[in-house]
């Protein structure tokens, strides 16, 4: 008879790995299974932005605390993941965008994000690399970025140090409920645990199906691009009012260009591909904001999945009707806020009262309310 673990986490991305880490530090015997290496999907290929200005209003309190976690990653994770805390600017180039920015920044400020509105000229003082075409900017001191591709290395070391059993490159294919808890069917055989956390990113819809739960998850295919190393062109995180741009320059000189322009592909396999005209659109926007980027060469472009629930708010909490089963995913600004939400979930699993409420999925399991206008 194989070991009965206290907890099995299916999916070793930022959500699953952080949940596993804090559960193990809380005294549990934890196993993580992932179909690939840790943090090689969304958690490893996203733009690494740690911003409030693209975060949903309801998530601002979580994102602020998560930002603090990222800023101190070396202390709790053991690796700094290349985190840089810096100013962030969200730009408006037209009257319409200025109106949108004013409204959105106001809502986020009400939720606790320290965003102030400044003129384009003031923004130029903060970011000399900026174009002079911005009319208005949202300015936030709580911003920054991480090197997303280091996430797997960081968590791998931390989880092993915490005594977590890692089963990488080991796809799970089913979950059975047993008298003692759960038996997860994996390529390397069954893994048994008293509790289960489903943390499979865009694949949680299928995993929830194993437990008989219908939780529709939309898959976004976000396009990203990076330049070769160039001389310093910018020192802040730069976005635009509607959230469709993110720009930052890493210390080694590359500039990552993101913003969630959509490529094509499916979570069910096959190659994902970028739509060249959307890549060009994203790059035009980037060069419009930071003109010096024109001189750079494009080194690489790629796509990464992002999961979204029907209300675009997180699915984090117990799975209704199934004792000791939990889900975490679709956090929206998942890389920014994931660690804090996962820590809250670990608290709940450990029987502690979470500091902030989770995002239980009961709301997503009822028939969809009338479409919003």
């Amino acid at each position: 008879m194989s070991t009965l673990h206290d907890l099995i986490v299916i999916g070793g991305g930022i959500n699953g790995a952080t949940t596993a880490l804090f559960a193990a530090r809380g005294g549990m015997d934890v196993v993580v299974v992932d179909r690939g290496p840790l943090c090689r999907e969304a958690s490893g290929v996203n733009a690494g932005t740690l911003t409030m200005q693209m975060t949903r209003v309801a998530l601002i309190p979580y994102a602020l605390r998560a930002h603090q976690m990222w800023a101190t990653a070396r202390e709790w994770l053991g690796h700094d993941v290349g985190v840089v805390v810096c100013d962030g600017l969200s730009l408006a180039f037209t009257e319409q965008e200025a109106e949108l920015l004013t409204f959105r920044a106001g809502k986020r400020r009400e939720a606790g994000a320290p965003i102030t509105l400044i003129t384009g000229q003031q923004a130029l003082q903060i970011e000399p690399g900026l174009s002079d075409k911005a009319l208005l900017a949202g300015h936030c001191r709580v911003d920054g970025y991480a090197n997303a591709y280091l996430t797997g290395l960081a968590f791998r070391t931390a989880l092993l140090d915490a005594g977590v059993t890692l089963m990488e490159n080991n796809p799970a294919t089913d979950i059975q409920q047993t008298s003692s808890g759960f038996e997860v069917v994996t390529n390397q055989g069954p893994v048994r645990a008293k509790r289960v956390v489903i943390a499979g990113g865009v694949w949680i819809e299928e995993m929830m199906g194993w437990l008989g739960i219908d939780l529709p998850i939309k898959t976004l295919v976000n396009q990203l691009a990076v330049t070769e190393r160039i001389p310093t062109a910018m020192r802040t995180v730069v976005g635009i009012a509607n959230g469709l741009l993110s720009l930052k320059q890493y210390h080694h000189g590359t500039v990552v260009i993101g913003g969630g322009w959509q490529g094509v592909g499916s979570r069910d396999g096959g190659a994902c591909s970028l739509l060249p005209e959307r890549l060009v659109g994203n790059i035009r926007l980037a060069c419009h904001a930071i003109p010096a980027l024109k001189n750079a060469r494009l080194a690489r472009a790629w796509t990464g999945f992002e999961a979204e629930t029907r209300d675009a708010l997180p699915a984090v909490g117990p799975i209704p009707g199934i004792t000791n089963a939990y889900v975490i995913g679709s956090i929206h600004s998942g890389y920014t806020s994931g660690p804090y939400l996962a820590k809250l979930l670990a608290d709940q699993i450990l029987g502690r009262e979470p500091d902030l409420p989770l995002f239980p999925i009961d709301r997503l399991l009822t028939p969809e309310p009338h479409a919003q206008g």
């Binding site: 290496p37 090689r40 490893g44 693209m54 949903r56 209003v57 180039f93 949108l100 959105r104 809502k107 075409k133 591709y149 280091l150 797997g152 290395l153 791998r156 070391t157 990488e168 490159n169 990076v226 330049t227 070769e228 190393r229 635009i240 009012a241 509607n242 959230g243 469709l244 080694h252 969630g260 322009w261 959509q262 094509v264 096959g270 190659a271 591909s273 970028l274 739509l275 060249p276 005209e277 959307r278 890549l279 060009v280 659109g281 790059i283 035009r284 926007l285 980037a286 060069c287 419009h288 024109k294 001189n295 750079a296 060469r297 494009l298 080194a299 690489r300 472009a301 790629w302 675009a312």
Partner: protein, 479 residues
């Protein structure tokens, strides 16, 4: 970028080397409209590279004559030549983005033949990134296209027939290398002789090379390899040492050779990025240079209407590339409904037979330039493997110890392969190091996911003329 009809041609051919030219001409002869795209101003690829107009043509080599002949055939054909265009993206339904003199252009066709050739394999040693150290492909371009003379004291090193070709080529122009450092021994060269029996033309050419080299009295160090290059701002000397037939360092004196340039080549790696980008099945074939698309004998990949031929589909050399070009040209004509099955079968007989005749020689040459795992095991810890990102062998070994088991994880842990060359220089070696560290097969460590752009391009060149209002900004994310 929108257009009324999505298709510009019946078939697009990427790469104007022997495989690409022949396939384009063949398909065109059977009535298909063909677009042939190449980055260079003229067709020819590496082996048939067109000499620069002002360079001397009096001692034209057989390759130069073959290249001219094929360029003439191409000029008489109906193939639309889209030269001077850098391919940066290939997506579904065979949409190809290029960057030309007038900016970004898009071409689309229901069939795609990929014939983008190979790139050089670099086996790193300390100092290989010093100015003055260059690859044999670059040396060949200087020789063939520009007739440029190397610096006075230059050393030639590496393995395989290109070594002899470059040595003889420069010797004939009065610029013999100071020394030839050959990983092979005379017995390796002799072992290829039987396979040459079927290729009298090449045999004659080979004899010509030997005569040129011997008459120039160039010292040849068989079973030797470069240990390191030395110099402050550029190469001043290279240090060589003895190796065994697998490339293992063996005991024996090191020798320092003063030089201003070192030209080095350790074989070729298939440039299979486009089939990989599109998601075609890949197989690892050590003797054919590494990871290649899984193809049938007509070049059909696992993806419908995608064909891969030439050295990019496995290192087989220029002669095989020609018959492979004919076969792919016929296959696409058949698959697109321009010729019937009987005609396809009849016309394939000759190129298939030709390929069979060439097989022994092509395999012997590919074997000579194969990667010897011991060459990689001998790379010293401080040697830079990824020169774009300054990643040493030691960095890769540490990442393997930290748990990186496949090459994409290795890339994340170290940045190896993240630079502008996208791992073309270091990919084969980094994967070999990782496989050796874990004592697993090359299949087990995989290959780097291919990403656009296929070659670096400037953002400026992608932008075109635009107003802010032209940018199709998607609708705002939810608040």
């Amino acid at each position: 970028m929108s257009r009324s009809s999505p298709h510009d041609f019946d078939v697009l051919v990427l790469g104007g080397g022997p495989a690409g030219m022949v396939s384009a001409i063949t398909a065109s002869q059977h009535g298909l409209s063909v677009g042939l795209i190449d980055e260079q101003a003229e067709a020819g690829g590496q082996i048939w590279r067109a000499p620069w107009a002002a360079s001397s043509g009096k001692d034209a080599s057989p390759e130069v004559r073959d290249g001219h002949k094929m360029r003439e055939t191409l000029a008489r054909s109906n193939v639309s030549c889209l030269f001077g265009r850098r391919i940066w993206s290939v997506t579904d339904q065979y949409r190809v983005e290029v960057l030309g003199a007038d900016g970004v252009e898009t071409y689309q066709a229901p069939h795609l033949i990929v014939a983008l050739g190979a790139h050089e394999r670099v086996i790193p040693f300390p100092g290989w990134t010093l100015p003055g150290v260059m690859g044999l492909a670059a040396a060949t371009i200087m020789l063939k296209a520009h007739g440029l003379a190397p610096p006075k004291d230059w050393v030639l090193a590496g393995v395989g027939p290109l070594l002899a070709a470059v040595a003889a080529g420069y010797a004939r122009k009065g610029h013999p290398p100071k020394a030839i450092i050959d990983l092979s021994g005379p017995s390796d060269w002799l072992a290829t002789l039987p396979s040459l029996a079927s290729r009298p033309g090449l045999f004659k050419q080979g004899v010509g090379w030997v005569v040129s080299i011997l008459s120039s009295r160039i010292p040849i160090y068989f079973r030797h390899a470069i240990r390191r290059a030395e110099g402050q701002d550029r190469i001043a000397a290279c240090v060589i040492g003895p190796v065994d037939q697998d490339g293992h360092r063996v005991a024996g004196p090191e020798l320092s050779l003063d030089c201003d340039a070192l030209m080095i080549g350790n074989g070729l790696v298939p440039g299979g990025e486009v089939p990989r980008l599109l998601g075609a099945n890949q197989v690892y074939q050590h003797e054919l240079g590494g990871w290649i698309p899984d193809c049938d004998r007509y070049g059909r990949t696992s993806l419908k209407h995608l064909y891969a031929i030439g050295d990019g589909a496995g290192i087989r050399g220029g002669a095989v590339a020609c018959s492979a070009g004919q076969l792919a040209g016929l296959a696409v004509a058949h698959d697109a409904g321009f010729i019937d099955a009987a005609s396809f079968a009849r016309q394939s007989v000759q190129p298939l037979t030709e390929n069979q005749k060439l097989a022994a020689f092509s395999a012997a040459m590919a074997h000579m330039i194969r990667l010897r795992p011991a060459q990689v095991a001998s790379i010293s810890p401080e040697a830079v493997i990824c020169r774009c990102e300054d990643v040493t062998r030691q960095d890769l070994v540490c990442a393997a110890k930290a748990g990186a088991r496949d090459v994409n994880q290795l890339k994340h842990f170290t940045r190896c392969g993240m630079g502008p060359c996208q791992g073309r220089m270091c990919g084969d070696i980094a994967a070999e190091i990782l496989a050796q560290e874990h004592q697993v097969s090359r299949q087990a460590v995989g290959y780097w996911t291919a990403r656009p752009p296929l070659r670096p391009i400037s953002l400026q060149s992608m932008l075109g003329r635009f107003e802010y209002s032209d940018i199709p900004i998607p609708k705002p994310a939810p608040l």
